[in-house]
């Protein structure tokens, strides 16, 4: 889309200054610029860079855009050189359409001679080819398409006119590898043209200054002192009203479970079909199920309700988005696929089914209702088990006290850097010292040493410092210190695999006549037999053939016999939410807002207190219990599943050091279970002061963790993404899918090969480090141990499992945390091999 060009040059002064014209334009719509918007315009004029921190739906786009737009308006078009002036980055392709519309509006209304275009994976080939030679004045694109532009030989020329980069929804990118990719891209453009300004826009963040520093980067003019990134805070309040839909009968409400269909009648009764509503679920399987059940309960709503999740076909999703916007569809059951992105001004009500998982996540979801400034967001939370009611109380408490999660950070991630180096080699080439200077101006790479940089450079040049290991491998090469990509074929291959989002191998689901419904995991299809029925895209489908890249299905009237599965482990509750829960446990039950929730929870708390006790914020509750299964020990740190997954084997190891025993482990978001088949005195372990101190000690923490878990097996998961980003495994090959069969391999196999033949490879150590930091949240685990060590221990022996302990037994997920050797496990299994049906 191109704005209409006004060919008549506009005489300056005739229409007023740019600021006056913009003010006029606001008036035309009956708007008044917010004070924070004016502040942002002034900051831009002063040449500053920074972050605009505003709740969603408060006019961020115009706050960031109008500064550069006024700058453009002040220049006579005849004097302006052709080329890109303003680059707008959005995290979602679907968002780019709305952003383009918002930017076109003032330009069209004022008939400004400024061109605006979008470039994403959806843009037509012909348009993209034209854009590669000459860009419009304002371009809207994604981080990945930005990288692609930087991979063309004329990259320097394309960005030489750039005045400003605007990054929308920065809170979605910061702390992720896509964010790193963007930081590196910006550092590369700074190498071409140092003069441009950077403005990020974000919704609520725990530390906006840090997010601003990351997007703006490090200035290399160390002599002049570091100008700090500006933060413009809108100080606009959007009250969030969190309601819990309480079960009518608490006595029969389950103590465990995640689907929550028990609440279906209550929710359906509470829904108002004339009111636009979003129903968020935590998993795609849950969305599919709820959609079916709501439809079964209210058949008359057919046509008014829809389903939206990431595996559905894009066309289908677009249709649902548009229909929700226009009011055609009233109710959408969705997953995180609608967490951010397109505005839905008609949505008045948001429902969250199941755990909110995190504070920021719930705020984001609640913010989808009445996406307008100043208005209250209403969110109704539907519990799937009894204790979850407490999570809603906790999340409300955390929202009130602004205890939002801090963003994780990556430092010197080698995989993203390796990809970036190849991009730069293709995009005009570089000399090592120049690129090193540029890379270290990115915030997340400021501490990268020249040695580390050279190592990554060697990795893409000839496989690493171990020259003998990679005789046939050359991706980039240098001629007198100037690096370029070796062959056009390798350039093409690289472009096809740019990006840091990894997708599992997916298989299309389509009808025989060709209509595509969406994607499911290849592994799921592999297990299906002809005639199997599963629910997908809101319908019951029957498989009748699997083709090379698609599962062919037909509609079925019979009941489904298998459940569609998608990968992705269950998300844990966040540190902030865990902390809030521990506080909430001891709320005065007269606390007004939580009154109803506490009343509902009374029977559960009563049972808990009768059998054991409810810990205060500075107590750690330990329960022991004997059942037919054996001797149980439960601990309740309320730290979330991931930390518990690290904590459980650690404690098991330390207990086993004191007294040899074999324990099986289970964890959930609230606690840990250690189970011994043979009589075992857990109480001694905790009640002796010296022993319990040793259990929670920081001494030997890393060695103990490494001993208690099989790091390699976990690092393999992490290595999959790293290997792909660094270009070791490729998702896409030029030409047909199966023409590259000889190059297919799995990342876990690659990991084994690296581990064995090039163990010093930095990518392998990155996988280990990320596993410990990101997967295990080592730092959080250490903080948790300190806390547990300082808490008062309450040790209760209980007659039977308490309401707190019950979910752990109900969901005994796994005994994978065992550290027995493969042979031991297999031998044990051989005696009791259970042939899977």
């Amino acid at each position: 889309m191109t704005a209409k060009l006004n060919t008549n040059p506009i005489a300056k002064g005739q229409l007023g200054t740019p600021l006056q014209r913009i003010a006029q334009w606001f008036k035309r719509y009956g708007w008044q610029p917010w004070p924070y918007q004016k502040k942002a315009w002034q900051a831009f004029k002063k040449g500053q860079s920074g972050l605009i921190h505003v709740p969603t739906g408060a006019g961020k786009t115009y706050a960031a855009l109008m500064g550069p737009l006024m700058q453009l308006m002040a220049q006579a078009p005849s004097k302006r050189q052709q080329g890109l002036k303003v680059l707008v980055i959005t995290p979602l392709r679907s968002l780019s359409r709305d952003t383009e519309k918002a930017i076109q509006q003032p330009i069209q209304d004022m008939a400004l001679p400024i061109t605006v275009e979008t470039r994403t994976g959806d843009t037509k080939q012909s348009v993209r080819r034209r854009q590669r030679l000459a860009l419009p004045d304002i371009l809207i694109t994604t981080p990945e398409s930005f990288s692609l532009l930087l991979s063309y030989a004329n990259a320097q020329e394309l960005f030489s006119q750039l005045n400003c980069v605007i990054v929308d929804e920065w809170h979605e990118l910061v702390g992720s590898k896509r964010g790193l990719q963007l930081e590196l891209n910006l550092s590369r453009v700074k190498q071409f043209n140092a003069g441009f300004q950077i403005w990020g826009m974000s919704a609520t963040l725990a530390d906006p200054q840090a997010a601003a520093d990351v997007i703006v980067g490090i200035s290399n003019n160390t002599g002049e002192g570091q100008p700090q990134a500006t933060v413009i805070d809108a100080k606009i309040k959007r009250p969030i009203n969190i309601q819990t839909l309480l079960p009518p009968n608490m006595e029969t409400f389950p103590w465990a479970g995640h689907m929550g269909l028990r609440m279906l009648p209550s929710l359906v009764a509470a829904l108002e079909i004339n009111q636009s509503t979003l129903i968020f679920t935590n998993t795609r399987a849950q969305a599919e199920r709820w959609f079916q059940e709501i439809l079964a309960a209210k058949p008359e709503w057919a046509g008014l309700i829809a389903l939206h999740h990431g595996s559905l076909d894009e066309k289908n999703r677009r249709f649902v988005e548009d229909a929700l916007k226009s009011g055609l569809i009233k109710l959408v059951v969705c997953t995180s696929s609608l967490d951010l992105g397109v505005d839905f001004p008609l949505v008045e009500h948001v429902v969250q089914i199941g755990s909110p998982k995190g504070v920021a996540r719930l705020m984001q979801r609640a913010g989808r209702a009445k996406h307008r400034v100043g208005e209250t967001c209403n969110i109704t939370c539907v519990p799937t088990n009894a204790l979850q009611i407490l999570e809603f109380t906790a999340v409300r408490h955390a929202v009130e006290h602004k205890k939002v999660e801090a963003k994780p950070s990556y430092n010197n991630a080698y995989d993203v850097l390796a990809q970036h180096i190849v991009t730069c080699a293709a995009g005009g080439g570089f000399t090592a010292s120049d690129l090193y200077t540029a890379v270290t101006s990115a915030y997340s790479y400021q501490s990268l040493t020249r040695q580390q940089f050279d190592w990554v450079l060697e990795l893409v040049e000839h496989g690493g410092s171990n020259l003998k290991a990679y005789p046939e491998y050359h991706k980039i090469e240098h001629n007198q210190g100037f690096y370029t990509v070796k062959t056009p074929r390798l350039e093409r291959l690289h472009r096809m695999n740019i990006g840091t989002i990894s997708s599992d191998s997916q298989m299309a689901v389509r009808f025989a006549k060709g209509k595509k419904l969406g994607y499911v995991e290849e592994g799921f299809v592999a297990k299906l037999k002809r005639g199997d029925r599963f629910v997908f895209a809101g319908r019951t489908l029957e498989l009748f053939r699997v083709e090379d890249d698609a599962a062919l299905v037909k509609l079925s009237k019979a009941k489904p016999n298998v459940v569609a599965k998608w990968s992705g482990s269950r998300m844990p509750i966040s540190e902030s939410l865990g902390a809030a829960m521990r506080e909430t446990l001891n709320f005065d039950s007269k606390n007004t807002q939580a009154k109803a929730e506490f009343k509902a929870l009374a029977p559960v708390f009563h049972a808990q207190k009768a059998l054991s006790s409810v810990p205060t914020n500075n107590q750690l509750l330990v329960e022991t219990c004997k059942t037919r299964e054996g001797y149980h020990c439960f601990l309740f740190p309320f730290e979330g599943r991931i930390v518990h997954e690290g904590l459980a084997p650690l404690l098991a190891l330390r207990i086993a050091k004191n007294a040899r025993t074999s324990l099986s482990l289970s964890v959930d978001d609230y606690g840990i279970e250690l189970l011994s088949k043979h009589p075992f005195d857990f109480e001694v372990q905790f009640s002796q002061e010296l022993a319990s101190k040793a259990l929670f000690s920081q001494n030997n923490l890393l060695p103990d963790i490494l001993e208690s878990i099989n790091l390699s097996n976990l690092a393999k998961r992490q290595f999959r993404d790293i290997a792909r980003i660094a270009g070791l495994t490729q998702q896409n090959f030029p030409g047909k899918r199966h023409s590259a069969r000889q190059l297919q391999t799995s990342a876990s196999l690659l990991y084994d090969v690296f581990q064995r033949y090039d163990p010093n490879n930095l990518l392998v150590s990155q996988a280990h480090q990320e596993t410990l930091e990101q997967f295990f949240e080592l730092a959080r685990l250490a903080r948790c141990l300190t806390r547990l060590g300082s808490q008062q221990l309450i040790i209760n022996h209980t007659e039977r499992p308490t309401p707190f302990a019950f979910p752990l037994i109900a969901e005994r997920v796994t005994s994978t945390l065992s550290n027995e050797s493969a042979a031991e496990i297999l031998k044990k299994l051989a005696t009791q091999w259970d042939i899977p049906a």
Partner: protein, 236 residues
């Protein structure tokens, strides 16, 4: 009887019709009656194929695979090595260094007959393979009523059977191709290579360490032997 070090545990024997074999945790089969080692899916030069395509995978797999095979030859004093197909990975991987490594290895084992049944990966490289001191076998080999073939084909088997006059022992095939593995539910052991024994055929695990696997359905097998470190564990 095969000679092994004292610290090795007892070997697992596999009986098929009148034949007896030993299942080796090194991903091979030893056939005492023929004094032969049988392996499948060596995929020589796979790493080099990856490197040439711009994917950095470190060398070392081929050398280690060949060393392991050398050790087996020495341990069992084997006179022949029969490869059940996919001896090589791809034409592009047969680079000069790979060729010279292979030539040197064959020279080191001059007294051993190496017989290679061509697999789907080998067919494009036949010309290159002909220069080595190995017997190339087009499709299958029958030794003492045992069929050695790359890929098992049930239909062919039936044809063979109806052609043969003796009813006492039906034809049995030893093959490779699918790289059979199993996964242990609720464990994080990953893919475990196995020997999969069926009614009419047995599938060997891929010999090379740089090979993925195809997960087999245990219930369709007659027996499954998993490789767990230095042990063979009978899973079914």
């Amino acid at each position: 009887m095969p000679q092994r070090n004292a610290n090795h545990c007892a070997l697992t024997q596999l009986k098929i019709n009148q034949h007896s074999f030993y299942l080796l945790p090194e991903r091979a089969l030893y056939w005492p009656a023929q004094n032969a080692l049988i392996i499948a899916d060596l995929h020589l030069g796979k790493v080099q194929t990856f490197q040439l395509a711009g994917i950095a995978v470190p060398c070392g797999v081929m050398e280690e695979d060949l060393q392991r095979l050398s050790r087996l030859i020495a341990n069992y004093n084997a006179q022949q090595v029969i490869v059940l197909g996919d001896f090589t990975h791809h034409t592009s991987g047969l680079s000069p260094p790979v060729q010279s490594t292979l030539t040197a290895w064959l020279a080191q084992h001059k007294e051993v007959t190496v017989r290679v049944i061509l697999g789907n990966h080998d067919r494009p490289s036949i010309a290159a393979l002909q220069q080595f001191n190995i017997d190339l076998i087009q499709h299958s080999l029958t030794v003492d009523q045992m069929t050695l073939v790359h890929e098992f084909n049930a239909n062919e088997q039936v044809v063979n059977k109806s052609n043969s006059n003796e009813e006492q022992h039906s034809q049995f095939s030893l093959c490779g191709h699918i790289h059979p593995v199993v996964r242990i539910p609720k464990s994080n052991l990953g893919n475990i290579p196995v020997f999969a024994i069926y009614q009419q055929h047995a599938v060997l695990p891929a010999f090379s360490l740089f090979t993925g696997g195809h997960r087999i359905e245990i219930k369709k097998t007659k027996a499954v032997y998993a490789i767990a470190g230095q042990h063979i564990v009978n899973l079914k």
